[in-house]
Amino acid sequence: MIEFKEVSKTFATKDGNLNAVNDVNLTIEDGEIYGIVGYSGAGKSTLVRMLNGLETPTSGEIDINGAKMSTLSGKELREKRQKIGMIFQHFNLLWSRTVLQNVMFPLEVAGLSRSERRKKAAELVKLVGLEGRENAYPSELSGGQKQRVGVARALANDPEILISDEATSALDPQTTDEVLDLLLEINKRLNLSIVLITHEMHAIRKICDHVAVMEDGQVVEQGTVFNVFRNPKQTITKRFVNEEVDPASSDTNVVLDDLIQNYPNGLLIQLVFHGDQAKLPIVSEMIHQFPEIQVSIIEGSIHQTQEGAIGSLYLQLLGDETGLAGAQDLLKKMRVETEVIHHG
């Protein structure tokens, strides 16, 4: 278990003090993937760099499985660091070493014998799916392959935690998904806690169990990914969620405005489904029960999270008032979250 207790970090800069991290309290349970999302400069990188002592907190405490990080220094700190794997946005591989030698680096640091290093590194290279590329140099690999080497290297000393610092931000969407799938697989297989920082809600939604949203050094919202996506409270969280759930929201808004002008008496609603609801024939049920209502579907999407699916659907309903009221009642009965956008 990782605990941040009232952690703050202040940097002295030319323009005065900068509160990079401001009174953060977080608890990360064993074996979960914890996402920390925020725009650049929000303090998320500084926060996780305190996990392995690359930064020290100005005040507050960080506990990793009972060990207080701030009390560690020298040899103890280095030994603890060996148990905290980290992967980076720009991979940070040694270009002078082959894939296998890069993975052996942390094992050399830990002082394993040559034969043990070879054996362990070969296993890890296989685990991340780079078998056959052991003797390639980083310059011969694609971005996704380089990050796989980064993952293998981070896992070398059987870490208690894996920190992912914007590890997919330099990759294309498809490679991003491949690396995220790999992280998820490793999390499940090794029951390894992963702390993932990113500015992409996509990565959070795809693999994280919990998420914390950071803004100006503070955690402004946290909870399960499912709940945060379903019901974002802060403006910044809504922005992140909308970017991901509804990337074309501005296009949708144009269409919605048109419809409101052309059918001032129509009803425009947004439905949000979660979990198994997303798989039920809710709309067709509504049409069956209220055949006099005209339904047109404007935009819909569905996204998978670790806890279940979240779907969103924009509908225009045209008909008489009793029909429309009945349809809304039906949706309520079926526990579909309904938001009325326009009712003429």
Binding site: N52, L54, L77, R78, E79, K80, R81, Q82, I84, M86, F88, H90, N92, L93, L94, W95, S96, R97, F105, P106, E108, V109, A110, Y137, P138, S139, E140, R153, N157
Partner: protein
């Protein structure tokens, strides 16, 4: 004395030419060995002490930087003269190839130290940080990250330094260190034997080309950044 005086090859003592060539190569290689060791140490010290928060460390960096800059600024021919008493104390003589070593090393080491420092600064900061995050000690970072990652730059810097050392040995030769510079001055210029001057020149050019070729080949072999 016409241009034909350049081509009186029967006037050349080839044994002397051979031993002078060997002296030049010996002075270059032995001084370069010391320059490499001293330069890497100084460069490492400059790199490790730069940008520190501690005032004492910043002071150390400042002192080393000043020393390096001072010795880099002294023209070599003056440095030899300046170091004559020091050389006499150190090696017991001011004549011959061994006597050339102290001034060669002291003039070239600061030059190489700057190149070493630059080479270390060119390593991606993130790579060093990754090693720190893995729990590497300073020593491990130096031997497993800094040196191997900057090796192509260290070797090409050493090549450039070696070539300027060859030039310095010729200058040292003019005031008695031996080698091809000495031969060209004593047996060539003083004895009005233009052929010796020409042959010594050609041999020096060949040595320079050879070192350049060896250096370039080595760099190509160890540089894995672009394949």
């Amino acid at each position: 004395m016409g241009n034909s005086s350049y081509f009186a090859f029967d006037q050349v003592d080839w044994n002397m030419m051979g031993s002078s060539t060997w002296e030049t190569i010996w002075m270059t290689l032995v001084s370069m060995l010391f320059v490499a060791i001293l330069g890497v140490l100084l460069g490492l010290l400059l790199f490790e002490t730069s940008g520190s928060n501690s005032l004492a460390v910043r002071g150390l960096n400042w002192v080393i930087a000043i020393l390096v800059n001072v010795f880099r600024s002294i023209p070599y021919i003056i440095l030899i003269i300046l170091l004559l008493p020091f050389t006499k104390n150190l090696v017991g003589t001011i004549i011959g190839p061994v006597a050339a070593l102290p001034s060669l090393v002291i003039s070239a080491a600061p030059f190489y130290a700057r190149m070493v420092e630059l080479a270390f600064h060119e390593i991606d900061r993130g790579v060093i940080e990754a090693a720190e995050a893995m729990g590497a000690t300073k020593r491990q970072i130096i031997f497993k990250v800094l040196l191997p990652e900057s090796m192509p730059a260290l070797v090409s810097g050493a090549t450039v330094t070696t070539i300027s050392l060859i030039g310095y040995t010729a200058m040292a030769g003019a005031i008695g260190a031996g080698g091809l510079g000495n031969l060209a001055y004593q047996e060539g210029f003083q004895a009005s034997n233009n052929t010796i001057v020409l042959v010594a020149t050609v041999v020096i050019v060949v040595i320079v080309f050879a070192f350049q070729f060896i250096g370039d080949t080595l760099v190509r072999h160890i540089d894995k950044r672009t394949l």
